[in-house]
Subunit: 393 residues, 2 copies
């Protein structure tokens, strides 16, 4: 196990009706003048935004609204948010929505006290300050409600890049599983895939002696394997939604990933897909993550065999562990298929002829990137090609 | 799953050499004038205390020493700590040691800003303020480095009672597994037993639909089952120590226990043993926890069968699940035996004739207490009797 630092100071408020506590928690965490950040119509139509506003008003908190966050949130709205926060002397940002809204809120939070261009933080610079952020989560997926991460897409050129800092971990996050019960099966499955990918990116590691985080990773995945099919067939199943919602947080606040080298290539490789085709991140991951596995599993057959046995319940083939490793990848694809996810470029609406452009945009040139296996541009092209025509299916 | 609130704002600094960062973290978390709280000679002799002092000095932080914390920490030293903190205008308490030192530090932290007797917080009162606490952990056991709990023994009458508040969660905790490598096998095993008990107290619940926390609980237990025997045979095994140390934190900061009714009767029933005989808490738990299981398992045979199958790898007896449930309890006892723990009153040095006095001190009168099974005074006596002469062994 490697040395690490772990800091997850977010106060989580979980359960039915908890969105009505938003005002109280903003006040508890020092907010008096809020930017209320949200996405499209669903938060308005469902009455959620109204309930949050009532709760802010009841707590005597002023607010300014900024809606319109889109999936794969854009830099353009972040600039508008920064301008608005400065103009209105905002001291707290409350994100009401899913990962996109929260990521946008985090970008605004870093941008407000910074004199330069906020995009600097998405180009490798560390922020020195940020406005406090709180969240009311509506989708179990990105894990942004408990993480110090944010991903933003630059409208010009479609660059999708991430930033990370403990400064943007939410001060509080309100998680009411009821709010996710109206999410249709496809979006639900996309979220579940994202959650599972967050764990797999941590699970495949070269760091040895990491039993505790291995087991914690497996715990989250086993939960997702049990609970996801239940919400696909019965979207309003509160209990299954609740298990998934907490699993989504645990998957990505890094408690299951500390002290081990991680690999985020699948996320990076997928980002180019969702940036180019504007597809759902989770759907893109369903295509890329198993393709990445298919490309790299020979690097550590026993780790993939462990995943197959412990996560997918495959019998261990002691005479040919590679067989078990492959079976695990196939189980993952079968699971993704069973919850309605695409498995290849065709189903996703991606085109094989775009692969050179996707690799070009990934932008590593002659370098290599990743943790578990360091990939070259050529390797990434190979993974896209597997994603276009998978074998272990 | 039940509604819950979860808040674990402690900054964890994990790995080799991290105790040399103590000064920097005290400063980061606002401390300038520290009470340096510790136990007996081992922290001094090992040079640890010297390194921590050097680190405080390097960071320009003043400190006042208060050593002498004993296992099962006493109220008398807490009163002295409170007096000292007020006199010296202490603004931060740094605990260097195991759970006893940290619990004592937490008691002092609550007592300083409080006009009344600090014991009020150990009699059910909620604190409204507390000095900030940081820790340098030397034993993987109590989980106090990440929890909002503290247990103190009142010297007069030997009452052992707990207090809990998010206010006493440490601001930072430094976890260097190297510091635990000198711990002898018996104390190591006591710590491991305490860690496992913290999980079992959460695992046995009447709350349904808790797959995510069930799986997380199992993850910690599976880790302990793998790693503990390694450090018993090879105390200086850094990697096994590291896995156990992080498991010990995860077991008790409540991330594996949220949203479910818990049962803390085994801890309560054990506390009377360690208060009366001054035995190690972990050794007491090795005797009491399986005895409690033996007494209650019929309340939910399938949950105990799940534990047996998922944690101990027992084959499921589909024609007689009770058989599987019992086998799981026996596996737990075999495991405890294998790491050198006592399994009954005789081995612990407890006496059957003291049972009425132990029950009397437990002090529930005609009431009932607990989560999974609500126990009467008579039930508690029965559990002590099982602990004196276990059957499932």
């Amino acid at each position: 196990m490697d040395n690490f630092q772990f800091y997850s100071p977010t106060e989580f408020v979980f359960g039915k009706g908890t969105e009505n506590e938003a005002g109280r928690y903003v006040r508890k965490h020092g907010g008096t003048n809020v930017l209320l950040h949200f996405g499209g119509g669903s938060a308005v139509k469902s009455g959620l935004l109204g309930r949050v506003k009532s709760s802010l008003e009841a707590a005597g908190i002023a607010y300014t609204e900024l809606g319109g966050v889109k999936p794969n949130p854009r830099d353009t709205l972040v600039y508008e948010g920064i301008r608005l926060c400065r103009e209105k002397k905002i001291d707290f940002i409350l994100a009401v929505g899913g990962g996109s809204v929260i990521d946008s809120a985090k970008a605004v939070a870093m941008g407000v006290p910074y004199e330069g261009d906020f995009w600097d933080f998405y180009s490798g610079k560390d922020p020195e300050a940020a406005l406090p952020v709180g969240t009311v989560l509506t989708i179990a997926a990105a894990g942004s409600e408990g993480s110090g991460d944010s991903v933003i897409t630059k409208e010009e050129g479609g660059l999708k890049r991430g930033a990370g800092s403990d400064l943007i971990r939410p001060r509080f996050s309100i998680l009411n599983p009821e709010l996710t019960c109206t999410l249709p099966p496809y979006q639900t499955a996309c979220g579940a895939t994202d959650i599972m990918a967050h764990v797999f990116e941590r699970y495949f590691t070269n760091t040895t002696e990491v039993e505790v985080t291995d087991r914690l990773c497996e715990a989250v995945l086993l939960t997702m394997i049990k609970e996801t099919p239940r919400v696909i067939t019965d979207p309003s199943n509160y209990q299954a939604r609740a298990n998934i919602m907490w699993a989504g947080m645990v998957a990505h606040n890094n408690i299951v990933g500390v002290g081990r080298e991680q690999d985020w290539n699948s996320h990076g490789i997928e980002h180019e897909l969702s940036a180019l085709y504007d597809c759902a991140h989770g759907a893109g991951l369903a295509v890329i993550m198993p393709a990445w596995m298919e490309f790299v599993y020979k690097h550590d057959v026993m780790r993939f065999a462990q995943a197959a046995v412990r996560i997918w319940g495959c019998p261990m083939d002691f005479s040919d562990p590679e067989n078990t490793a492959r079976e695990g990848i196939m189980c993952f694809r079968h699971f993704l298929r069973s919850i309605g996810m695409p498995l290849d470029f065709g189903e996703l609406g991606a085109k094989e002829e775009d692969i050179p452009a996707l690799v070009e945009k990934f932008g590593i040139g002659d370098g290599r990137t990743g943790g578990f296996v360091k990939l070259s541009a050529e390797d990434i092209a190979a993974i896209y090609r597997i994603a276009a025509a998978p074998e272990l299916i």
